[in-house]
Subunit: 348 residues, 2 copies
């Protein structure tokens, strides 16, 4: 079986007895205002298109400066194959729904550089994303050079999550971690806690910074001064003695940057015979765990992941629709407080 040459616009034109330009115009519905094609001709073209099973060549379309209505999705953290258990799942749901609404097709990219298993956009001197009109980026990367290159290439992309490059904000849809973290601090304080401790990893990214800032804002609003003493960054397991020391020192509430850390604290407390929230309170700054173990009894706030995904697509669409060169856009979505059951009154 010979690999048949697919019909092109020229074939259509010939069959319909018109010029190739007309075919393009009709197919792209450009027969408006300035340019006019009689509706009979349009019908004839469409008829031939159907008869010949014509499908436009997306590569040619893109090359000629048109759009192929494909959006790429790239995650730096390995999210492929996607599993509903994955942290990124809700983002993807939002992305897909909005893409469907705006009639875009989606391509989830995956490419791992063989050596270190890290994911990168550019490889073998090639950027696979560019077959799409624009892309949504997810997850963290250490390699800011890639983003930098993508940006200087003028490739349209939107990040899910706040992301800055050389001090300049990129286009993104972020969660308002600052306000949400402040809210948590105030919520904890409203239960009578006057000494709290922020715990997080030493490796920092934008969202970690935002959380810390929210924490600081909260303390400030409450008129507290001992902020420096109230932030701890460790990566290793927390020793039991450490926790006891903190408690002895008068700390009554722990605010963990991640749910995971919050869990650990609670478990550690159990080992020491302390229970939450009777003996001490714990809150997390966002439901950062897997989608599947979304535990409502933990005091935290909910990251609007679906909405963020959808928002990113909208933003990208907006950028693509605007022929002018858009500025960097930022959009923040509010997080919802999830009271849970791990924050209680101070033990008297």
């Amino acid at each position: 079986m010979v690999r048949k040459r697919r019909p092109t616009q020229i074939d259509i034109a010939r069959a319909a007895g018109v010029s190739p330009a007309v075919v393009s115009l009709v197919i792209n519905d450009r027969a408006n205002g300035k340019i006019r094609i009689s509706s009979q001709t349009q019908d004839r073209v469409w008829q031939v298109v159907r008869d010949l099973d014509y499908v436009p060549n997306l590569a040619a379309r893109q090359l000629a400066g048109g759009r192929n209505h494909l959006l790429g999705v790239f995650t730096f953290d390995s999210a492929f194959p996607v599993d509903y258990n994955n942290f990124y799942y809700p983002f993807l749901v939002g992305i897909e729904q909005m893409a469907e609404t705006l009639r875009y097709d989606l391509m989830l990219f995956t490419r791992t550089s063989g050596e270190d298993g890290s994911r990168r956009i550019y490889r073998d001197g090639t950027n696979a994303l560019q077959v799409a009109d624009g892309s949504i980026l997810l997850g963290g990367t250490d390699d800011r050079a890639e983003l930098s290159r993508l940006k200087s290439d003028g490739y349209p992309f939107v990040y899910v999550g706040r992301r800055e490059l050389d001090g300049e904000q990129l286009t993104y849809v972020g969660a308002d971690y600052v306000s949400a973290s402040t809210e948590i601090v105030e919520y904890v304080a409203s239960h009578g806690h006057t000494r709290s401790l922020l715990m997080g990893p030493s490796c920092r990214n934008e969202s970690s910074h935002d959380r810390e800032q929210g924490f600081r804002v909260g303390l400030e609003r409450l008129g507290r001064r001992d902020t420096d003493d109230s932030i701890v960054r460790i990566d290793h397991e927390i020793p039991g003695e450490q926790l006891e020391a903190w408690l002895d020192d008068g700390i009554t509430a722990f605010i963990a940057e991640s749910v995971t850390t919050a869990f650990r604290l609670i478990e550690l407390g159990k080992v020491l015979g302390k229970s939450v929230p009777a003996d001490f309170s714990v809150a997390a700054l966002g439901n950062t765990g897997n989608a599947s173990d979304d535990v409502p009894w933990i005091t935290t706030f909910q990251i609007p992941r679906r909405e963020m995904g959808a928002g990113a697509v909208q933003l990208l669409h907006q950028i693509l629709s605007n022929p002018a060169n858009p500025p960097n856009l930022q959009q923040f979505l509010a997080c919802r407080l999830q009271p849970g059951e791990t924050v209680g009154p101070v033990r008297s």
Copy 2:
């Protein structure tokens, strides 16, 4: 910021003081045999490529008949991400690993037609897959017209799972369900069972047919005759009386096409006070459930999903590498028997 025009091969050529053709030849490493480029010139070109941050345009590359080294992955069952079903996970893992090995980039396509939520390749008169050199297809579709069109378009694709079109075999990597099912039948018989019942849904696809054929082959080898009585196809829940009737009728072993059905039978047995394998035996024709609940205690066979995914990529690679028009290729992988604990001796 102006959307910068990216450097093209012409820019490289100018900067390196050579013709554009040389740039293309060097970049694609075509300077061999007939065509020769001095290594100094090659070095010079590469240097300029690096200096100017040149990245080839994949659309142009594809249009010009080259390859862009992208493989598509399309699933008819929605694997991305709504109603995600883990069943496909191992396939995707295999695909990703082999793609990595062969240095292909992967794109997971997703597109749902808005109306009925079904997934289709062609939409809005466009075939998104074609931006990739070729594609791997997963999952079942009722709409054979899509496959037919894809094939007549000459688009290179490989199915994971046996798939035929108008009686003709497509290119695929399948599991040898026939042999495996036969093996199960013989395994069951080796425990003394002489009357078994094949249970499956009425909606049939290729793999269902293969399983039934394997069942028949097994019976034939054992010299049994009552095949007609031994196959039941129902979609609704099995009533308790039905199960009892079968048992009273002398059926001692149930062979379910899916693990789900096997589960149901066991549960139903429990309700009736019967236990497996003491009162009756149950086996399934393949670990068809989600990857997450892979239960080793069920007697079944294991579908080599990872290997199938990898095999599909290899096959596709082979097709793409062969400039001639390849015939349809089929590849079958063996399934491994998983004895489990649900088949025992006949109750005397």
